[in-house]
Every structure is written in C-alpha cells, then in structure tokens.
C-alpha cells in the first residue's frame, strides 16, 4: 500500500508548520506600527456619551465624538474642536458657532446646531424616551440650547455654573451626537455610535473591547494611528505579560504590578499623581463617633504614611484635604496630622470611651486590605478594637446607602475626581446623606459653600470658597484623607500616550509614535 506521507515526513511537516505558526506572533511585532493596543480594566458597557458606563467607556467616547471645545492634554484649559467660536457672553449665556462641513459617520450628514441642542438637552432638559442621563448633574442649570442658525446657537443657564466648561462642555458630557442617528438607532447607539471625531468604532464585542479606525472624514488633526484596539483585560497579571510580550502597548496598572516592570526591555514605566481621592470616612451619626473627641482620636491614632506604605508601597502622594494639587482650590496649608497616641488616648478618656469595638468596611482590593490591616493595628494601640469587613463590589457600594448607611462605622473609600472643585465637593452635601455622603456629614456652612463654588466664576474667589469648604470638613474630623492615588502608566517605548492629569482620562486620538 502506498502511503500519502511517511511518518517521518509527517512529523517534519508538522514541526515546520508549528514553527511558522509560533513565529508569526513575534514577526508581527517587528513591523512599523500602524495600530496600537491599549488596555481597559472594565468591559465596555455603553458608548453613547449620555449613558457611558465610566472612565473605560469615556476614553473611547472621547476619540469618537467631537465637542464644541475639548480639554487640553495638560488640563489647563479648552481648545476649540467642533466650534469655530465659543464665547461666554455673561454668567448664564454661552454662544457658539460650529465649523461647517463636519460630517457624522455612516452617512448621517453634517453636524448642525440642532445636533448640539439635542446632545446637551437630552441629559436632563429634554430626555429622549424619558431616559434621564446619569450624568445629568454635569449640566446643572441648563435651561435650553437655542438654535439661532444652521451652525449657531446659545446655551442658556438658569444660574451660573463654574464647572460647566471643564466638566460638561469640554469632556464627555459635551460630546455632540447625531440627533438622527440616536433616534434611529435607539439603544443600538450604545454599541454602534455615530460620531464625527478622529476615530470611528469598527466593532464592539462583549468581553473583548472595541476596535477604533481612523475616520477619513474627520476635519481636525489626523490621528497618528490607523487603528486602536481597546482591549478589555481584567487581570493585571495578564496585562503585565501582554505588555512584556509586545501584544499590548499601553496600560495603567497598580504599583505592585507596574514597579517590577521598570527596566523591562521595550517598556517604559512612569507614575503620575492621581486625580482620585481615597480616605477613611467616619460615620458621624453612629455612636460613639457622634462624639467629636472620638473622631479626633481616630484621626490622631492613624499614621497615614504607614497606611500608604502598606497600600501603595509608599508610592502614592499623601493627601491632606479634599482637593488635590492640580485642581483649583487646593489647600496648600491643610493640617498634616501626625500620629499622637497619647493625645488620642487622652481624647478617648475625656469622652469616656476606653474600649471601643468598631468595624472598618472596605472593598475587596489588595491595597485597601493592606491599609485597613495597618489601621486596625494602629487603632488597637489606643484601645479601639476594629474588625475589617471586606466586601465585594456589589455589596460594598450599597453599604453606606439608605438605611444600611446608618449602621456603617468606618470605611475606606475612593472616588474618581475631575479638574473642578465643585465636582469633588458635590458628594459631601447634606442632600447626599443616604446616597454618597457615608460620613453623614451635615454642615449647613459646607452646603452653602458648595453652592457658592458652583456659581462663582472668578477663579481666585472660587479657590477661596473651596478652601473654606475643606476647612469645614476638617473641623468635623470625619475624614482621614489618605491619598489622591497614583497612576502607573506602562507603555511600549515606541508609543507616546496622551491623557489628562491623573491618567484616568485618555485622549486616544493624540497618542503618537515615540
């Protein structure tokens, strides 16, 4: 019988095929880059700007849609984007003129002032199908966008909103959608968005991410890369291996994963102060923390630097008040509390509390666990016995809300920030008790200052107001500020990324070859 292939020939051919297969991946990385791959750590949920899921969605949204004016990379101000002119006529009126000839993708025509009106008003004033955006607060005070011509219009507010340019107009809530596309596509617009920006979405797949391709009709500066793959990679360790192997070009990672990658071939690791705020909160309405002296004792018993050493290898900058350095209203002279065991014990004795049993509620993430364990040991020394209650996300984010919030003792919390003091301050007003003000910090003075900060357009006066508000928070002793976080950016050395301060908000269209 004639054999088609001898055993030896078969083995040889298989080995050759395997070698070609396995070398394919490495040969690809040697090609000049026309595309890059970046990592997001959460799956894409919705790419419609008004219903985006979080920073992971927002980073794609920014590359796909235009805004009247966009935040500059360094976050210092705005630069015109879809608008030829954008003018604050008075504190409650902004006029805009669009550049003509800006086309939406997929044949949805030219951008007009009617699209701008639809895009902004749908957040709250005129929600489509009754669906109010979760980002409604970004457009606080908007009453109407009046269309005065094909390309011109006026944004009218009921009261001044100092953060409008930074938080809404210049960022994702200011993205201009095609009215026709949103109405035609409905919820499909979440996965097949129609923009006019530098990139268009080629595909979105659950658990995989999105592929962005250069938009040939975009009238602005041409992005450097033809294609950007935005890959959802949940596991930081896999992200590390993908970066090392050259499959991934850019990621933001926790310090414990990123630090060991310093010096790895073809990789660059840089760390930036974050734009988030992490603190230990104390429920002011739960005994024994209703007594100011007990809260002060907790603050003096803790050693923030030790906690940061445990949670962030000491790489995260210390935060002493709510507003972090690059943001207007940073309180440079905020008190830096040092550990003082004797004073903490004295305060507790004065309050008649010599043996407190309490609980620190935290999210199940390694950094928080390490910090909570250190806090527990430090509190023990002054006679406060703390149990660390580690919860997974679904349970944790509900722990301080509604009725359950009345029973929470202490907690470690992290909020993402933006380059606007009012955005940072909004969660601590009395109206947020039962929602996100887990300290149950109720201060009429603070509430008033938070309102003033929104309405004051003079930056110097606004900074003063923000500092006063932080002083009110400090007086309460319900906040032990820890850090504004640290962002470790790991990238291939041949890719230069672009992002706003804090490295959470990326500008993918401004990524360039290094």
């Amino acid at each position: 019988m004639d054999h088609f292939m001898s055993r030896r020939a078969f083995v040889g051919a298989s080995a050759a095929a395997l070698t070609i297969a396995m070398s394919a991946s490495s040969s690809v990385s040697a090609q000049p880059k026309s595309s890059i791959t970046v990592r997001i750590d959460r799956d894409i949920t919705a790419l419609d700007p008004a219903f985006r899921g979080g920073p992971h969605d927002a980073n794609v949204v920014r590359a796909v849609f235009q805004r009247l004016a966009a935040l500059k990379v360094d976050g210092t101000g705005l630069e015109l984007d879809a608008a030829a002119e954008l003018k604050q006529v008075d504190p409650t009126l902004i006029e805009f003129t669009l550049k003509p000839g800006q086309m939406f993708t997929d044949g949805f025509g030219e951008m007009t002032a009617e699209d701008v009106k639809f895009s902004f008003e749908r957040f709250a004033v005129a929600p489509v199908d009754g669906k109010v955006s979760p980002y409604k607060a970004d457009w606080a005070g908007l009453t109407e966008v009046e269309v005065t011509g094909t390309y011109t219009g006026r944004i009218k507010l009921s009261a001044p909103n100092a953060g409008l340019m930074t938080v809404a107009i210049g960022d994702c809530s200011g993205c201009i959608v095609s009215k026709k596309a949103v109405l035609e596509r409905g919820t499909e617009h979440n996965t097949h968005p129609v923009g006019s920006g530098p990139y268009q979405v080629a595909s979105v797949e659950k658990q995989r991410g999105a592929v962005l391709r250069r938009n040939p009709d975009y009238k602005g500066a041409r992005p450097a890369f033809e294609e950007i793959r935005v890959n959802f990679i949940q596991d930081p360790k896999t992200t590390e291996l993908a970066l090392r192997s050259g499959e991934l070009d850019f990621a933001v990672l926790p310090p414990s994963i990123a630090e060991p990658m310093r010096g790895a071939s073809g990789l660059s690791v840089e760390n930036y102060p974050g734009l988030a705020y992490i603190w230990l909160g104390i429920n002011m309405q739960k005994a024994p923390f209703t007594d100011m002296r007990v809260r002060q004792a907790v603050r003096l018993a803790l050693d923030v630097d030790q906690m940061l050493l445990a949670g962030f290898n000491g790489k995260a900058p210390r935060l002493n008040a709510l507003v972090m350095p690059p943001v207007l209203g940073y309180w440079k002279d905020a008190p830096v509390y040092k550990r003082n065991v004797a004073e903490a014990r004295r305060l507790l004795a004065e309050a008649g509390q010599t043996s407190i049993k309490t609980r620190i509620t935290i999210l199940n993430q390694p950094a928080y666990q390490s910090m909570a364990l250190v806090a527990r040991a430090l509190l023990q020394e002054v006679g406060i016995s703390a149990e660390v209650d580690v919860q997974e996300g679904g349970t944790y984010w509900d722990a301080g809300k509604g009725e359950a919030g009345k029973n929470i003792d202490m907690f470690l919390m992290r909020f993402n920030g933006k380059l606007d003091p009012s955005f940072l301050m909004q969660w601590f007003t009395s109206s947020q008790i039962g929602l996100w003000n887990w300290q149950r910090f109720a201060s009429p003075e603070y509430d008033q200052l938070a309102q003033q900060a929104i309405r004051e357009l003079d930056p110097a006066k606004r900074a003063e107001i923000a500092i006063k508000a932080q002083q009110e928070m400090d007086k309460s002793a319900a906040f032990v500020w820890l850090t504004n976080d640290v962002a470790y950016v790991v990238r291939r050395t041949n890719v230069k990324p672009a992002f706003l301060p804090g490295a959470i908000d990326w500008q993918l269209d401004k990524f360039t070859p290094a």
Binding site: K206, Q234, E247
Partner: protein, 319 residues
C-alpha cells in the same frame, strides 16, 4: 425505538424540571444577596430618577416569584431579556460568547481524551511498572494543580520566555490561524487536570474489566492481547469515562472562568462571573439558564450514547 423515544421524552421532561428548579433557586437567592444592583451597575454619578427607572426596567420593584414567572414566560418565546446597561438583548450577548466557550470546552475535553485514554490504557496494561507509578504520580499532580496556576506557568514559558505563542485574547474574527494560535494555551491549561483524571479513571475501569470472566474466556479462545485490550476491555471501560466526560463538559461550560480571565478570552463563565459581581440580573439569569440547559442536554446525550456502546444497556432499555 419507541422505548428510546419514551426515554428521551421522559428525560426532556426531567430537564425542564431541573431548569425550573435551578431558576427558582437563582431568583430566590438573588433576592437574598446583599447589595443593590442599581448602585453596583450605575455608580455614584447616577441620578435618583435614573436609578428609579433602572429598578423598574430590571423589575426589581417586583417580588422575585413574579419576576421568575415573567422571565420564564419570555423564555418560551425566545426572549431572555435585555441588558439594561448596554440595551443589548441577552440572547445576543450570550450568542456572541457561546462559540468561544464551546470551542474551548470541546478542545479541552478532546485533548484530555486524546492523552488521558492512551495513558490510562498503558498504565492498566503495564500495571506495577515504573511508568505506571510515574503516571500515577503525575496524574494526581495534574488533578491537584488548579488550572489557573497552570495557565500562568504556560504563559510565562510559551508566551514570555520562548515567545512562541500569544498571551491573550481569542484572535481576530475571521482569522482562523490567529484564533487557533490563541486557543492552544487555554486548551492545555484546562485539559491538564482532566488528562490526569481520565487516565486514572480509564486505568481503574480497565483493570476491573480485565478481571472479568469474558476477558478470561477471550484469552482461552486465543484472541490476541491487543484485540482483548483495545476492543473488549477498553470499550467496557469507556462507560464510566463517558459519564465523567458529560459532567466535564458541563463543568467547563460555566466553570472555565479563571482560565478565561487569565487568557482574557470571552466565555460564558466570565459573563456569569461579571454578571454576579455587578448584580446584572438579566444577564445572569440568561447565562445560568443556558449553562443549565447545555449541562443537562449534554448528560442526556451521554446517557443515550451508553446504549450505542453497550448492547446490554440497549436490551435493558427495550425490556
């Protein structure tokens, strides 16, 4: 034939009851789990109006049994609900990831059979030999090491040190070569434990069968050892192995989550895991339903295949 059909019909009825039982459990437990889905899914920026609307859309203002009735009613018309966040139908979300899960599951089980059965046969026919002892040790080690640990080692060796295979993902759509490349490591990671398990099972089943009278009779008739081992003994030893494979397929369908996370591959396990951690109930309900259905149907197929292999079972069935 009529008996077989009756058997299939009764098993399908049982399948329905199992699915219903699983869904009752899921809905009842969902109501007990702490944590508000609206908070978990929408985050701090959500307005009270949006949260309220969201609660209504998810049916969370209804008691769990009413949600269950409504869900099961929709299932019969092929509607598994809508993911409230993305607005996508759950059927589409599941349909997108299902092929990845099937490919990974069947390639892993296939690889486990391809290695486990010959190793088990060899160990059974060379009982007490050095290789038998070695295989016993290696098999137990394979079973004991969690698949995600193997996954990380495989990545370090083949993707980083040797740079032979890619680290992550499932490959580009339509590019079969790329997809096959990215399937190799996850398949090995998942199948290693099963190789050990199947090898042990085949060995013990074969040893038991080799001691039976019909094997002794076959030897007395002068049939060759090869024929006795591979035609008669192995065929009989296959029945318990098949039962285990049925369970294996079911477990891998929803249980490959850690390997899917390590290799960043889409899959039903990950979908279910994400849905649980974000309290995304519509996606969770749909995924659990599909996993239970596939699990039960796979085991039905396995049961039916016994009859094809063993005539005694066929005859028992017809009586």
């Amino acid at each position: 034939m009529r008996e077989t059909l009756r058997y299939v019909a009764s098993r399908l009825a049982t399948t329905f009851l199992i699915v219903l039982g699983a869904m009752i459990l899921l809905f009842a437990l969902s109501a007990l789990v702490p944590g508000d889905p609206a908070t978990a899914l929408l985050g701090p920026a959500a307005t009270p109006e949006y949260v309220q609307r969201f609660i209504q859309e998810m049916g969370l203002d209804q008691p769990w049994y009413r949600r269950l009735f409504s869900f099961m009613g929709n299932v019969f018309v092929g509607n598994l609900g809508t993911d409230v966040l993305s607005g996508q139908p759950v059927t589409r979300i599941i349909a997108n990831v299902l092929p990845y899960t099937f490919i990974l599951t069947f390639s892993s089980i296939g690889l486990a059979v391809a290695f486990g059965v010959p190793l088990g046969c060899y160990a059974a026919t060379h009982r007490g030999s050095l290789l038998d002892h070695l295989l016993a040790f290696v098999s137990v080690a394979f079973i004991a090491i969690p698949s995600f640990v193997i996954a990380i080692f495989l990545l370090l060796i083949f993707a980083i040190w040797l740079d032979w295979l890619p680290v992550m993902g499932a490959g580009e759509a339509g590019n079969w070569f790329d997809q096959a490349q990215r399937l190799i490591l996850p398949t090995i990671a998942l199948s290693v434990g099963w190789i050990g398990f199947i090898a042990r099972l085949v060995r013990s089943s074969m040893l038991e069968t080799m001691g039976e009278n019909f094997i002794r009779l076959s030897r007395a008739y002068g049939l060759s050892n090869r024929l006795i081992t591979y035609k008669y003994a192995l065929k009989n030893a296959c029945i318990p192995t098949l039962a285990v494979l049925g369970m294996g397929v079911g477990r891998l369908l929803g249980g490959a989550v850690l390997v899917e996370i390590v290799f960043s591959r889409p899959g039903l396990g990950r979908l279910m895991f994400d849905a649980i951690s974000t309290r995304n109930f519509p996606v969770l309900q749909g995924t659990v339903l599909v996993v239970v259905l596939i699990f039960v149907l796979t085991n039905l197929l396995v049961d039916l295949s016994y009859a094809a292999i063993d005539p005694r079972i066929r005859r028992q069935g017809s009586r």
